[in-house]
Each structure stands twice: as C-alpha cells, then as structure tokens.
Symmetry: C2
Subunit: 358 residues, 2 copies
DNA sequence: CTGAAAGCGCTTACAG
DNA sequence: CTGAAAGCGCTTACAG
C-alpha cells in the first residue's frame, strides 16, 4: 500500500498525503489558524484517517517550552502530615522535569488563615502555568480560582474537594466516608452504650477545616445508623501543652465514666494517645487519622487501635502529573473527581504502609 | 564565568570544554571504548565537574532504540485477580511507549504447571530486553532466571519473592504478614475457643502456590500468639461445583458446631461466601484475599467481614516501570525488595478501592 | 495563508 | 582512536 517503511505516521507523512508542507500541518494540529479552509479540511481528514499520534518526545525537544507549576500547600516539619504529601510532589517533579515542567512550592501556615491570605497576594504577582491547591481554607480558595479562571490557568484540588469551581481534577478522599470508616473501626470494639471523647486542637484564627467537619458528620451518621446510644464529649486540646491536656482529659474521664472510646478528626491523635499511654488507660480505644510518625508509633505500641489514612503522597503525585499531562499533551484526566482509597492501618499492616508511593 | 546562555550543560559543551568532538564524549558516556587514555580521563573529569545529566528525551529521539519487555503472567478472565494486575501493565505500557519501550504479554494457566513449562520453552525462543515474572511456579522460575542471567536479561518478580535470584526488584506483599493481617481481622470478631474453616480449591496438578502456604503460616502464627484455642478444619472445594461444595461444607459445619470463622488464602473466598449466604449462616465470620468483583460484592452485602488486598495494579505498573527505568536510564530501583502495603477492605471503604491505580 | 530551513540534544554510521 | 555530518520528529522564526 505504501513504500514508506515507517510504522508510525509522522508530520512529513501527513504533509505529503495532504500535499502541503509540515508547517501547515503543524498549524492545523495546534489550531494556530492561518490555514485556508480547503487545506484545513484536507489535513484534518488525513489526520483522522491515519489516527495521527504526535511524538511527544520530539515535540518536547523541539518546542523547548517550559512550564511552571505552583504547588500551594501548608508548611511542614519532618514527620508531619504534609511532609508525606511533599514526598509525592518531589517524585512527580523528577518525572515532570523530563517534559520541561518545573514545580515551585508556595507555603502557608495551615493554622493561620492570614498567612494564606498573604500567600494569595503573592500568587497574584507570580506567573505559572498551572496550580495544585490544598483547599484547607475553602472560603478563600473558591474566589481565588475565579482569578485563575480569568488568567486561563488550570488548577487541581487536593485534600478536600470544593464545589462550584472549574478544577481540572480533585485528588483526595471523601471526608464524610472517611469519618464513617473511623466510626466503624472504633464501634467494632465498643459497647453500644459507651461514651466517646472527641479530641480537638484549638488554634488561633482557625475555625476547623471543612475536612474535619465532614469527617465528623460521617462519623456521627455511622454511629446513629448502628444504634449507638452513648454520648460524644469534646476535649479542647493544645498542640504543645501536655500538662494542660492532661488536666482537661483527667477531668473529662473522671466526670464521664462511660467513656471507652476516643477519636480525633485530624492527624494529631498522638496527643490523645500520649495521654492514654501515660495514664495506662488501656480500656479506652482510640482511632485517628493519618500515618504520621508519631501516630504510627502509637499504633505500633497498641495505644491506638486503628488509623485511617488518605495516601497523601499519591495526592501530591497525581495532582502534579494531572496538570503535567494536561499542559504537555492536552490530555484531561479520565475522571475529575478522584476519590482515593481510604486506607485502614492496624498494628499488623502498618509497617508496609511507607511503601505507599505510586 | 561563561558566555554560554544555556543553563543546562549539553554534550557539545562538554566536548568544547574537553577539547574533543561530541562523538568522543558520547563514547565515554556510554563506555563504548575506543578512546585514548588521556581523553577518557579528561572527559570524565569534565563530566563530573559539571555533573552532566543527559537529556533523556533527546537520547530517546535520536537513538530510536526499541526495547521489548516480556510480562509473564497467568491468563485471566474479566473480574479475576490477574485482570487487575493487567490493568497496571496497561497503564505502564502507555507510559513506556514514550521511551520506545514495548510490552509483550505471555500467558500461562495458573492452575496447570505444564502450561508454565511450555511457556518457558516458548520464551527460550523469544528475544526481549527485560522480563516481569509472576512467580507462582517458584520451582520453575528459579532455574529459568539462571538462563536469563546468562542472556544478560534483567527481570523483576511480582506476586511473591524468590530468594537466591538476581532479580532487579520485587513488587508484592509479604505473604506471611498478609496472613497475620487476615488472622487479626478474623480473630477480632471471634471467641478464642471458636473453630475456623479453611477453604481450599483443589486443582489438577497444582500443589498450592507458595504464596498461599506463606499466608497460612502467618495466619497460624498470629492465632497461636493470641492464645487461640480452637481448631482449623480444611474444606476441599471445587471452582465451579456449587452442589459439591455445599455437601462438603454442610458436612463440616454439622460435625464441628464450634465453627464461627472461615478463611481462604487465595482470591476465591466468594465460594465460601456464596455458601454462607445461601445457608444464612450469619454467625460465621469470613475473611479472604483480593478485591475481585465477586469478593467485593460479598463484602458489600455483609457476607464477607473483611478482605486483605495487595495492590495488583501497582505491582504490574511498578514492575514494568522499574525495568523501563533500568533499560532507558540505567537507573536501578531504590529498593530491590518492595514489600507493598497490605490493604484492609471493609464494607465501609471498599467502594473507593477501585481508584487504586497509581 | 504558505513553505524552506534551522534547530532542540543526542546517536549513529562513515571516513579517516 | 577521532570527528564531521546526517538524522530522530517536531517547532519556530522568517521570508514571501
């Protein structure tokens, strides 16, 4: 049928078939306009006929186009939740580099909404071709995405999803269902009449993330369905004040003798765990979120019954790669809402969870 | 320091710095020999000095080198365990294509060792640049790897690891610990004195995979540690013979009234589940392996208490990608033994597990 | 609106 | 042992 020994169809082949030059074919492929109607039609026809697939490697090499991605995420210390997310970003970065995609990270303080406000101001002065946005401060993220829409900058959400925005994709768990999972894990080990402590970290200017709120809703909803008859008691704890926390918890546990369960809806369950271990309250079952180092230790030691986790590395990795594929190849993610697996960690399987990176 | 406006150092830059041509630099980079001692030394020095990083995209485009990977795996029907593994292969294939790496699949019948024998004979007549080997028939895989070693063909193991081979890497779970996880999940819901049924599928010429053996060891070891006082009863079941299975199980459950738990060590726990559902034996807790469709359904319906899973897609994906990176970039995997996460699925979190691909 | 030509960074014969 | 030159498939000025 042809004297062409190439198995893959190249632009020159298209050009020859359509009787034009490669430059014209290129214009059509990239919708750059400036092509006569008839050439446009003919070239498109050929393109379809041979099912043309561009060689992305050649494209990348030739174009020399550099993309920059902004990753907007909480500042973190080693061993904290967002460090795992960052590990995913680092992996994606290495891969994206091959396609001339660079990653710039922008940090805010997750416990200080004004820091996020300031960061947004900074972002307004920066240029980038795509953004990965951690949605902790939902009320501020939403309006900011309008600006990105206007600038024509695509963005991806991670951590928790936001309705009414034009996100290219979302990577994270269903917070509501993650709440139900925690409830199941705790309730499996509880009498229906037991009470439960809910540990909460109080921060300056932090009304609690919407993720935590959704988790709690899911948690309560599950208990209700199962006929839970006990009560939930809130313990307002502090991040680095062991003595204070001890006092609060001593008080609470003394007052409510029916307490046999405990839960936190963010990654700080090691605080409650530390207390229970110190007081030798092996009668209280504790369930929390995220496999950060200190939580993992407490699970290992048997103080924590179970952890619910959300693959932060995968969220980071896939967030970056989704933008990368969109920019470089013009390929949209198969699914916009990627509700990722809700992982369950027990003493018996936690040691392998670090090998979690995709 | 330089009038060169390039931020990345290219081969021409190296050549200029060393006072040679690009061809000579290329020879040094690829150890092709035929370079004088002094040039070799000088070029290597420059290479180190500037920390040269080749542009892989350009390399790939220029070399046109095609690699072929052989994936040796069980034949499967839709909805079966190896279909999930295959999904990972397919994803990796799409990615590897960009680097001129092609994938060829070679199938055997996992329940028929002679089929594997035949396949190995076929493989001896085929040429490929790397292989992903599912190690179900361990006794035959080991000697075959000697041949691959001689041919200089790198290989990766999946499913279960084999000692004493030169595998580039292994991707799979620790079968022993996966056994302990199943035991924990079952025992959590059992009285220490209850008996347990172990469901086993009997095949022609199949002595049982070493993966199942290891899982059972881990399972027993956990129970022993926890002070389990009941007995394990084996039920020899058939793949597609419901009537037969019913008879066997009716018999067993009648004889041993203490049975309150059940387990299978391969992916066929839906068989036991089907029986329990039909007989309305809600008093028997069942734990099994792998989120194949029929198992997932039974978990959803509450017949199965928990499933233990091993990320087959990730195993396939990472197996291919590891070989890809080794061949194209000469980069070895960070770790040779990649014991992947052991996942726990309950009714409450299974619906998100399909979004498991990396 | 169109095409010839140079170039992306590397590899590969080929001639010496 | 060495280097000049062509080419991988695509993009990008540039001249018309």
């Amino acid at each position: 049928m042809s004297d062409n020994e190439h198995t893959t169809v190249r632009i020159v082949d298209i050009a020859r078939m359509a009787g034009v030059s490669v430059a014209t074919v290129d214009r059509v492929i990239h919708n750059r306009g400036k092509v006569s109607e008839e050439n446009l039609a003919r070239i498109n026809e050929v393109l379809h006929e041979v099912n043309y697939r561009p060689n992305l490697i050649a494209r990348s090499l030739a174009s020399g186009r550099q993309y920059t991605l902004a990753v907007v995420m909480p500042r973190f210390a080693q061993g904290e939740y967002w460090a795992d997310f960052d590990a995913g970003i680092v992996r994606a970065e290495a891969e994206a580099r091959r396609y001339n995609v660079a990653v710039r990270k922008f940090f805010f303080d997750q416990y200080d909404r004004s820091s996020f406000e300031k960061l947004l101001a900074t972002l307004r002065g920066e240029t980038f071709d795509g953004a990965v946005l951690a949605t902790l401060f939902a009320e501020m993220v939403s309006p900011f995405t309008r600006e990105l829409d206007e600038r024509g900058v695509p963005y991806v959400f991670v951590d928790s999803n936001l309705p009414g925005c034009n996100q290219l994709a979302y990577f994270g768990t269903s917070s509501f269902d993650a709440g139900a999972v925690a409830a199941r894990l705790l309730y499996d080990r509880l009498d229906p009449g037991s009470d439960i402590v809910v540990g909460r970290i109080i921060h300056r200017g932090d009304a609690g993330s919407n993720q935590c709120r959704s988790r709690e809703e899911g948690f309560r909803s599950y208990l209700q369905q199962q006929g839970f008859r006990g009560k939930l008691h809130y313990a307002a704890l502090r991040l680095d004040d062991e003595a204070y926390n001890r006092e609060v918890l001593d008080d609470l546990l003394l007052k409510h003798r029916a307490i046999a369960g405990a839960v936190t809806f963010n990654s700080t369950c090691y605080i409650l765990a530390g207390y229970l271990a110190a007081r030798r309250r092996t009668d209280v079952r504790l369930v929390g979120y995220d496999v950060i180092r200190r939580n993992g230790q407490m699970l290992d030691e048997g103080v924590v019954t179970a952890l619910v986790a959300q693959r932060p590395e995968a969220q980071g990795y896939r967030g970056v790669m989704a933008l990368c594929e969109w920019l470089v190849e013009g390929r949209r993610p198969d699914t916009a809402e990627n509700n990722m697996p809700i992982d369950i960690l027990l003493k018996e399987n936690i040691r392998y969870y670090k090998n979690n990176l995709i």
